[in-house]
Symmetry: C2
Subunit: 125 residues, 2 copies
């Protein structure tokens, strides 16, 4: 095994790949980015409605971590009831094409994956 190219994956903190895949490796970040990409800006409850099955709690922590990484910006209007608008930053927008290409692959290969999945599950029973 030629280990030179492989060992780079071993250390999480210093490895950009591991770092970004860890963000993808949470349940909601990529989806929130895609949703934000559909509109110029969206309010908290609008995102919540679109995704449907995300909890308020997870939507807040996801938006917060995306904000921390500089992918999403958050603008609070000091009104009552409160109004908060979220939008992708330029950095966030620059990520979108890469996620989209993934989605495109998913669309193209969805039936193939599903077929394989149900075949595999049959064998298990």
């Amino acid at each position: 095994m030629s280990s030179e190219s492989l060992k780079i994956f071993a250390e999480t903190e210093t490895c950009p790949a591991r770092n970004v895949l860890d963000r993808f490796g949470d349940k909601w970040s990529t989806l929130v980015i895609l949703v934000l990409n559909e509109e110029e800006k969206l309010r908290f409850n609008e995102i919540h409605k679109v995704i449907g099955d995300i909890s308020q709690k997870m939507l807040t922590v996801t938006l917060r971590s995306l904000e921390a990484d500089g992918l999403v910006s958050r603008k609070v209007y000091p009104e009552i009831p409160p109004r908060v608008e979220y939008k992708l930053t330029d950095l966030g927008k620059s990520l979108v094409p890469h996620i989209s290409s993934l989605i495109k692959w998913a669309d193209q290969n969805f039936s193939s994956i599903m077929a394989s999945r149900s075949k595999y599950n049959q064998k298990a029973n």
Copy 2:
């Protein structure tokens, strides 16, 4: 809000995007695919060594779900001690470029993200 384009994200089972993102949304699948892509075939313990911080348990469940989806093939040699070889299928290989483009983005924007992240954490204290 123009909801036509947005509502597609709402249903997990029928939405290819949701389906593939859910697979990405586990902690290890993408990383295992990248590792397998570096070599023609790899044995269980070889993958385990390369990734380093994955548990045996999670490596088995990750490989099983990738196998179920038809992204990875598993070949068992009936020997003792056992030998099992894993490799990407054609479908698995076809996914690699899309993950790679993500990794490339991560490499290019890593410092920017890290800077934003530490800035954000400072404000919190």
